[in-house]
Assembly symmetry: C2
Homo-oligomer: 454 residues x 2
């Protein structure tokens, strides 16, 4: 008997058998069917990535993207769409190059990218000997003489042993963020870091760095691909190597920009559930997985709720945040406005881990609410969503935590994300239609449950 | 307190906290670390796909692949490597084309592929009117006159509503397998089917069809891509459309070929645990996900067990089966030999669902053994493996079920597989290094547990 039941199980993965509640289970299936059959997220993402492409804060492309988001939210059936003002930093890259020269005396170019927010060399060649360290502890052991006037190369590798690549990213990210500040304080001319990448290719990855307030020298910071990093380390073990860096990146004055917001009005009250993601991207690739995917998923939720005629109790608001990548100004401004308008927020969920197959949700909320969300696990299992253990939420919605808003983030499969993240490889062809729509599906399902129960 | 525990959880995803048994948990981590840090599966797959490429049974490329497998098994440290004789069918494709002509009177070409094992038109044009049906029920309603001398077009779509795409594949596969036989019996000249594909592109997918023993007319069967299929259906609703098919595919005589086997000897006894996959592929793409991935994963298990010095109780045998795609002769011959040699088999696991992130295992075994494997779930959770509910196992190891051998199949994430399966798109660049190695990791972990406990 039991054996027979097990045989039948796969046929029921549509949701009936696992469900705690048939009505919820059927609504889950309605949401899934609507998105998988009629979803527009994939074609919207094609449009955003192919016709606008990457869209760094303050760029003309970003401004185009805000108009695009307004149009798409209206097309999806939003009751109300608007742009929310926010001052954003404007970082510009310009031309850049990195050459190295070892014992053979010949300069050769490496693929490289300046780190976001970094200052450049103002178009002049900065030439110095490269000093290699594996990590911060090794760096701290160096004498000042060994650092002064040199270019410091940090080759801290992405730890492949972490099963969730987000943990490896977290582990290594201090080098991208802080290496220039560490080395600048001790008189170095520039830093080169190994890209935060799970791939073993030669693609350089950018991403945010920052100088400390008390940094007197804002030295340039650049990244090279893992292959170049390994080769450079190997050469440095037997030879002196010199680098010649030439770059033009710099931080300009802040500029007026916009987050884009669309909502469907609540049928019971005006309190708000946010589905968020960020509209800006780095100035490389197409910003497809980071975070075009989150944008089109959020819009898909609004579209499908409208198409299904779901009578949401609370207002469901899609927020396309400005400037997540190099400032988080959109998220901070949004929270400020919420406070000023005294808007009640029931819940906020973000998608900023890529449009890969969903595996779970990170949750930041009270133990009681967390337990309640976890009690819905059986409803999500037929959709492959099983992990509700992580405690994290999206960066853009993070500032809402101050007001006690329960937060979540879609937790997609993490294996492919950091191969392409913040690089020229983050392009539309890396996104799978079904994976993207399944992510939107389970976010929609979670919003449905919270809208009904909170 | 509980809140704090939850905060800490992600840090322990390496395996300690979830483990039932610290020793097993540590061994799981050793296997994972060894593969993720030193695994050769990805580079082996690059070699197989780029230097040999696709390798249909009976082809010169397949014979090259058997030598390749022998070399790789030796390199991995197998105690014993051999080729096992098996007679395989030899199907040859040759040149092929499909043109259609509607009311405008102009012939235009469609991307197409003959289905595997199909007979062709012997290089002559076969021209006829196309008759469209959506499914078998519609076909059955047609009069004999409506079928006789026509080319029947079955446009049964891959059902996007199934969350596990394997179910959609199972649902639609009868059209690929049997349509030519249905239509041939009723006097049709040929059949065109919509490819079994989860993508909405225009890539045609091949795959096995078969004629019934009592089929008098072996009519040609070809597939077109989903886009062409939708366009053709649309045109057929308002206009007559004619097709002109020209193909040369045919079945030749059987040929002597080989499965390739390598093993590490058991320390306790000579009973066998099989890690299997198939070495052959269709004659399109590079046979990367289907099933080069499974081959290099199986070899990786042997390599890592040897590298870690795990003292396996039972013999661990990697079987690279011949001819899964269009005959299953390798699997059937292997089972026959097991019976003849009276070899005891403890367990067999196959990887033939692609080298995507592992999600679980399909299990075919007694309820008691199934329950025991499911009791290990907590050990696998830190590796993202959560689903032990499916009841299926690999095709190649299937014939071992007759002898009561407990069987399993790796169940990877299914979203991307049928976009590329049996098509020109099944190439190395579709495989992710970490996903591939994680699949090998969890197969190795399952083998470790069974070797220890059974």
């Amino acid at each position: 008997m039991k054996y027979n039941l097990i045989k039948i199980l796969p046929l029921f993965l549509g949701g009936i058998l696992f469900s705690q509640n048939t009505q919820d289970s059927l609504q889950f299936k309605n949401i899934a069917d609507e998105m998988l059959m009629n979803g527009t997220a994939y074609e919207n993402l094609r449009d955003l990535t192919q016709n606008i492409g990457h869209r760094l804060s303050g760029s003309a492309a970003y401004e185009k993207a805000t108009d695009w988001a307004v149009a798409k939210l209206k097309e999806a059936g939003a009751d109300k769409v608007w742009k929310e003002e926010v001052m954003v930093p404007v970082w510009e890259r310009g031309k850049e190059s990195l050459q190295i020269k070892s014992a053979n005396g010949k300069w050769r170019s490496l693929r490289m990218t300046s780190l976001g927010n970094s200052e450049g060399t103002k178009g002049k060649d900065v030439e110095a000997e490269i000093v290699f360290v594996k990590n911060k502890a090794d760096f701290d052991k160096l004498s000042d003489d060994a650092i002064k006037g040199k270019i410091i190369f940090f080759n801290y590798a992405f730890n492949q042993k972490f099963i969730n690549t987000g943990q490896a990213y977290g582990d290594a990210s201090i080098y991208r963020r802080a290496a220039a500040s560490w080395a600048g304080k001790r008189g170095a001319k520039a830093v080169i870091i190994r890209s935060l990448s799970s791939a073993l290719d030669d693609v350089p990855h950018t991403g945010m760095m920052r100088y400390d307030e008390n940094d007197t020298a804002k030295i340039p910071a650049v990244a090279i691909g893992p292959k170049s990093a390994d080769e450079l380390e190997k050469t440095l073990k037997t030879e002196k190597v010199f680098a010649k860096l030439n770059s033009n990146c710099t931080m300009r004055s802040d500029k007026l920009s916009y987050s884009v917001i669309g909502e469907i009005t609540g049928h019971k009250d005006q309190s708000v559930i946010v589905a968020g993601s960020h509209l800006d991207s780095w100035d490389v690739g197409e910003g497809a997985q980071d975070d075009g995917a989150g944008i089109v998923q959020s819009i898909e939720i609004l579209r499908s709720f409208k198409a299904l005629g779901l009578k949401n109790n609370h207002t469901i608001r899609v927020v396309c945040f400005a400037n997540e990548e190099n400032g988080l100004r959109g998220g901070m401004q949004y929270a400020k406005n919420v406070k000023e308008k005294n808007e009640k927020h029931v819940f906020a969920v973000e998608s900023d881990g890529g449009g890969f197959t969903p595996r779970g949700f990170g949750l930041v909320m009270t133990p009681e609410k967390r337990k309640q969300v976890q009690s819905w696990r059986a409803l999500f299992l037929p959709y492959g969503v099983h992990n509700f253990e992580y405690e994290y939420a999206g960066a853009d919605i993070g500032p809402l935590q101050e007001f006690g808003v329960p937060l979540a983030e879609l937790s997609p499969d993490s294996q492919r994300y950091f191969d392409i993240h913040h690089s020229d490889e983050d392009t539309f062809d890396k996104v799978n239609r079904r994976e993207l729509l399944l992510g939107a599906t389970v976010m929609g399902q979670l919003i449905y449950m919270i809208d009904k129960n909170w």
